[in-house]
């Protein structure tokens, strides 16, 4: 560990240069920062659990050191990569379906309700 530096505080230093504001309400910009940092943490937790399970499968017992030193082989790496991809697809479903909806160009559901009520 670095003894003189507060590495936790320093890690979060901002980059020089004004940050663009993406949403009209700045709270939304902050919320995105938190939600996606959390998403990354959940992903890391899932990976850690997968590591524990694989080590237990292989050895029946584990030490913390085993977890820290674990590196998946090619097959395990692909299985975990696929799991991460599936996880991202789950948390991003709303965004992905917005893109699909943009392409589909459906009329408002009220229009369908009204139309079918008459037909």
């Amino acid at each position: 560990m670095s003894e003189e530096l507060d590495w936790v505080a320093l890690s979060g230093r901002r980059a020089k240069g004004k940050r663009p504001e993406y949403f009209d309400d700045p709270a939304l910009d902050r919320l995105y920062s938190t939600v996606f940092a959390l998403a990354a943490e959940v992903s890391a937790l899932r990976e850690r659990q997968d590591t524990v399970e694989r080590l237990l499968d292989a050895k029946g017992t584990i030490r913390r050191e085993d977890i820290e030193n674990y590196a998946p082989d090619r097959q395990a790496g692909e299985e975990r990569g696929l799991a991460t991809r599936a996880y991202i697809a789950r948390i991003m479903r709303g965004f992905q379906q917005e893109v699909e909806a943009l392409d589909a160009g459906d009329p408002p559901i009220a229009d369908i309700v009204e139309k079918l009520s008459r037909e």
Partner: protein, 404 residues
Amino acid sequence: MSADLPPPYTALTRHPMMPRTTHDEAARFNFLTHFNRYLSGPIGAGNRLAYEKRVLPAFRAEHGRDPEHRYEIRDAMNKDPWHRTWSALKRNSMEMRQHNGRQVVLRQLDELDAMAKQYNEHSGMLELDPAVEQPHYQTAVDIHCQPGGYHSEERPGDITVGANYDVGLFATTGGALGGLNDGGGQAIVEWIKQERPDWQPRRILDIGCTVGHNAVPIAQAFPDAEVIAIDTAAPSLRYGAARAAGLGVKNIRFVQASGEDLSRWPDGYFDWVQTTMFLHELSAKAMPRILAEANRMLAPGGLIFHIEQPQYSDEMPLFEQFMRDWDAFNNNEPFWSAMHGQDLKQVMADAGFPRESQFTVGVRAVVDPEIFPPSPDDGEEDYGRAAIWNAYGAWKPVAQAEAA
């Protein structure tokens, strides 16, 4: 199926200077690698849809014509809710990459600094010059949103920004640059070996080398050549020199110098002057100065070679130009937009490279396919991050130099 998946972070080559990641730090990079691929792939497509379905029709209704410049598209797209959302996601991904990389580096900075110092004292491959000032185009903003840019120190003599740059490239590029993040340098080597199989340059200069990840493969491919890698940023050079020494490379020297004043090297000294993803990090006045210096230092028959993203041209659709411009306004790449808007061939010609001596060629990252499956960017350009580049080069005419 597996070809679509990036390799795990732990597949990166752990050279001696590479900061060690804990299990969870590596896992965070894994998330970001996948997330970046997702943002440029499945939901990146929403930008074009938003443009075609909403933004362009609204622009036509308001102005009675199509947009005539990429900036008109940018102004209109910046009001579109989808583009705002996508941009917020992408910006956050970059910030998270920086945060994770800095946590990795800073918590072990004592060991990393000590190791770099030891390597650099013994190798003799690092030459710093405190008199070199950081150019304003490097300090106006922190490039790539990397806190501290390439040049700042957390404490005197440290290597934080260089190490952070190295540990996070994997996530930024979606794992497309290979085990040593050197796919760009490897691509240059592959190109030159095909182009001039018998060429043996004696002296090679890499300008704007950062941590030397693209210069080291060149030094390895030409072990009899003397390679000089320059940059203005001491912390990047300290890390880069130690990294190269740790990889066992001996024929490279990292020198702190500005590309705008290379008077220490005589006319015609180098056989090859190289820049890799560097020209867009300059300023409008600096770029021609550096190219003129390169021309002066290049030996007759020598090669100048720039790896870059493609220039904007009349043939490139304005929407694509706008998308490629994203980093200029959202990722602290202030010269990106202006640089890619220039007629680079004319700029090169003004610097002394006749148009008939110039060429452009497409190159893509060369990586070990056993570990790093091809990135899924075949034909799906992600406007700046994919490991596909244009290279702008020139062979300096022999006759021109003799006449001069």
